[in-house]
Subunit: 204 residues, 2 copies
Amino acid sequence: MKKGKDENTEEQILEAAKNVFQTKGMDGARMQEIADKAGINKAMLHYYYRSKQLLFEAVFKNVFSLLAPQLNAILNDDSSIEEKVKNFTFNYISFINKHPYLPNFIIQELNRNPEFILQMKDSKGFPNLAKFKEQVAREVEKGSIKPISAEQLFINILALNIFPFVAKPLIMAFSNVDSKAYNQLMEDRKTEVADFIINSIKNT
Amino acid sequence: MKKGKDENTEEQILEAAKNVFQTKGMDGARMQEIADKAGINKAMLHYYYRSKQLLFEAVFKNVFSLLAPQLNAILNDDSSIEEKVKNFTFNYISFINKHPYLPNFIIQELNRNPEFILQMKDSKGFPNLAKFKEQVAREVEKGSIKPISAEQLFINILALNIFPFVAKPLIMAFSNVDSKAYNQLMEDRKTEVADFIINSIKNT
DNA sequence: AATTTTGTTAACCAAATGGTTAAACCGTAC
DNA sequence: GTACGGTTTAACCATTTGGTTAACAAAATT
C-alpha cells in the first residue's frame, strides 16, 4: 500500500477544502475548485469524504478546533481576570493574522445552520462558562471588579476582540482608512482593548 | 397600464428578495424561491431586475439604507458622547428585533465582496467619522472623557452592540442558554452596554 | 375600435454542479 | 511474474439553476 501517499492526499484535500470553504462559504464553494487547489481529480474528494456536506463538516470541525483553545484561555486559565483580559486581547490578533478568515467563517456558517453547533457541544474541550462564572462571582464579591455577570463580560470580551475583524470592510469604509491604517488600528487594539475593558470593570 | 399592479409587483419582488437574500445570502439564494415567495413567475424577476446580481444589489442597497441612519445617530447627532452612547445602545436592540438578519447579511456579503461598499461610499448619507472625530477630540481636551481615538471608540461601540447578534449561535452554545435566556441577556444589554462604555471612558 | 405598449406566463435552454462508474494504475505479497 | 488491494482518473450522468423566448393578456393611446 502506498500509505505515505494516502494520508498525503487526504490531508491535501482537507487543506484545499479549508482554504476554499473559509473564503467562499458552503454555498459558494465548488468541489472542482477544491480538487484543483489540491491538485487531484474531483472523484477523489468523494472517495475520501463521500459528499460535499461531509467534507464541509470535516473542515468546520477542524477550524473550530483551532478557535476553542483560544476561548478556553480566557475561560479556564488560572490567572486573574485582569491578566486573562490582557493576555487574550494581546494574543488574539496574532492568532487572527494566522487565520484571517476563521471568525467570519464560523459565524457565517453557524448562522446558516445554527443546529450544527449542537453536534459539537458534547465534544471534549468545548468552551464552557462554568469556571469563569465562579471566578467572576468571586472577584466581584472580593471587590476587585465591579458587579457584572460572567456572561455579559464574556460577550463584551469576545465582541471587542472578534468584531473588528469580522467587520473589517465596514470599518475600513466608515473610518475611511486603507489596509495599512486598518492594520495599525488593530495593532493598537492589542493593548487598548484590554485597557478599555479593565477601565470599565476595575474597582478604584 | 395597470400601474397599481406594476409597482406592487416590483415591490413584492423586492420584499421577497430581501427575505431570501438576507437569510440565505447571495450564493445560497435561489431565484425560484424568490419568485415563489413573491407569488409570481420567475421571468418577472428578470423583467424588473435583469439579473440575480442586479436584484441582489437592489436588496443590498435597500437594506444598507436602513442601517446607515442608525450609525449616523451616533456620528452626526448633536448630543454629548455620553448621551449618544446611551441612546444608540438603547435603540439598537429594538432596531435589530425588527431586522434580525440585517447585521449578519451586511457583514457576510461585504466579506464576500469587499469592493462592493466602494460603490456606496459616494452616496449621500453614508456614515462618516469627520464630525464625531472633532467631538471626541473636543471632549478629550475638555477632560470629560479619557484620551481615546474616535476610531477606536466607534469600533468599540459598534462591536459591543452588533457582535452579540451576529454571534448569537456561538453565544447561546457557550453560555448554554436557550432562546428566551438569550433574549433576556440582550434586553439587559440595553443599559449595561452603555454603562460599560461610559465607565471606561468617563473621567472621574 | 384598432393599435401599440406594458405586464405576465409556460416552456425552453445552456451551463454548471455534485456525484457516479468503469477502467487503469501501481505498489505489495504470494 | 502475477494476482490482489487500495488509489486515481476520464468520462459520464441527472439535476439544478440563472436566464431567454414566444405567445398571450391587459392597459393605454390613437
